[in-house]
């Protein structure tokens, strides 16, 4: 038996399928690329959930609107540091930053390491990059889907 750990975050895709199908434009990309959901506009139709190839969206059982990981946008916006998963990673294995800024740490890592994304063929332009993502695990995620 082998264990693979793949932290699954919302990919904050560059061409997100979830935002293009939203019938009320309740979800959209912010200027910084983060895909955001306006909880006051969402009607809870579930179409974005059906469109996301990464199954990152769910219906909040109390508010009945779509939710997902937003890389802790309110926290980042208010300057309280990187997203919680990055801030709390004891091994410092996660790096958060601006990939459009050529001097940022994340840009240097992507340029120098062999990185890959999950389901690139979805055409969504995912922006969560993995270093040394186990090929077999990534392939299982893509083709075996939970059996």
């Amino acid at each position: 038996m082998r264990n693979h750990y793949i932290p699954m975050l919302c990919n904050q895709c560059k061409r997100p399928a979830c935002t293009s199908v939203c019938p009320v434009e309740a979800t959209y990309s912010l200027d910084n690329g983060i895909v955001y959901i306006d909880p006051h506009r969402c009607i809870g139709c579930g179409y974005c959930m059906a469109a996301c190839p990464y199954a990152m969206r769910f219906l909040n059982p109390h508010r009945n609107v779509a939710e997902k990981c937003d890389w802790c946008w309110p926290r980042v916006r208010d300057g309280q540091g990187p997203p919680n998963c990055v801030a709390n990673c004891p091994g410092g294995a996660m790096v958060f930053g601006d990939i459009n800024d050529p001097s940022s740490k994340i840009t240097r890592i992507i340029a120098s390491e062999s990185v890959t994304v999950v389901k690139p063929e979805s055409g969504n332009g995912p922006t969560v990059y993995y270093i040394g993502l186990d090929d077999e695990a990534a392939r299982l995620v893509e083709t075996e889907g939970g059996h």
């Binding site: 019938p23 009607i43 809870g44 139709c45 996301c52 009945n64």
Partner: protein, 298 residues
């Protein structure tokens, strides 16, 4: 090698049975509207007895159908958002417009038909045809734009949905004709000419539907990994009893044999075959909506 994957990610269905029922009802509505226009729009006098009942049924079904969208929606009280905040790239937004215009056109068309104004009936009947086709065709686009799921991301969806809508609509009109003629006419005699005309239409529509649905599945089966997996689900997996058993054999092949074998064609046979077809198409909607999302993505 056997592999077992364990996840902490929950697998949630985005669409459910309410959406399948919604698709089914809009399909029946579009089908009966088009039958209604055969006489009043295109002048096929044979189908005149179905003109009025066709438009009444089409309107009622299309008023009922969006209720299932409200039942499905997490926040139905926000349905007005659909009309205020539109998104051109979302088929559900197209639906907001279509689901408003189509029933209004149905009512106007029906009004002139009952008033006996042949010219305006024809005009609104012909306007209604592209609307009826769009109101059901767009539901196919809803699925094909939800590209996460292999069964849905296919340009076959809209045409498959349209043809199956006509199949179920014609079957329903056969049943309605039989029930009306048997129970509500003075002589209790079924209009056999009408039934046979509809039966012939149903035969060819079922053949077209079988061709489309099986070629869709064949391409999926020999396609990339996710497509192959979902085709296997329908052909031999958990959905096989529904897809092969109910939808294809019970709902299409058997009725096709019943209505295309001259020695056994009779009113009861047409009735039973139509009922089987309607059950089959309802199962098709469920197979598409529920089967498409059955396999977890991660």
């Amino acid at each position: 090698m056997e592999s077992t994957l364990l996840y902490t990610v929950p697998h949630e269905h985005s669409f459910g049975i309410a959406i399948a029922i919604y698709f089914y009802l809009t399909g029946l509505s579009a089908g009966s509207f088009i039958i209604s226009t055969l006489a009043y729009g295109f002048g096929f006098e044979k189908y005149k007895p179905l003109g009025k009942i066709g438009v009444v049924v089409a309107t009622l079904l299309l008023v009922a159908a969006p209720m299932f969208l409200l039942i499905h929606s997490g926040r139905p009280e926000r349905a007005w958002h659909l009309f205020v905040y539109m998104n051109g790239s979302s088929p559900i937004s197209w639906g907001s417009i279509l689901l408003t215009i189509y029933p209004i056109n149905c009512i106007i068309y029906g009004y002139f038909m009952f008033k006996g104004n042949a010219k305006l009936t024809k005009t609104f009947g012909l306007i209604g045809i592209p609307l009826a086709l769009s109101v059901h065709g767009y539901t196919g686009f809803i699925l094909s734009f939800a590209k996460a799921h292999a069964l849905w991301r296919s340009s076959m969806m809209p045409i498959l949905f349209l043809v199956s809508a006509l199949v179920s609509g014609v079957a329903m009109m056969i049943l309605i004709t039989i029930i009306r003629d048997k129970l509500f006419s003075k002589e209790g005699k079924v209009n056999m000419e009408l039934i046979q005309g509809l039966g012939k239409m149903l035969t060819w529509l079922i053949i077209a539907d079988l061709f489309l649905s099986l070629s869709d599945l064949a391409v999926h089966y020999f396609g990339e990994a996710e497509s192959h997996e979902v085709a296997s689900l329908l052909l031999m997996g958990a959905f096989a009893p529904l897809f092969i058993g109910i939808e294809t054999i019970f709902g299409k092949v058997l009725p096709l044999i019943l209505i295309s074998t001259p020695p056994i064609r009779s009113v009861p046979v047409y009735g039973v075959a139509s009922l089987m077809v309607m059950i089959g198409i309802f199962t098709m909607r469920c197979n598409m909506v529920l089967g498409g999302e059955y396999i977890p993505l991660l």
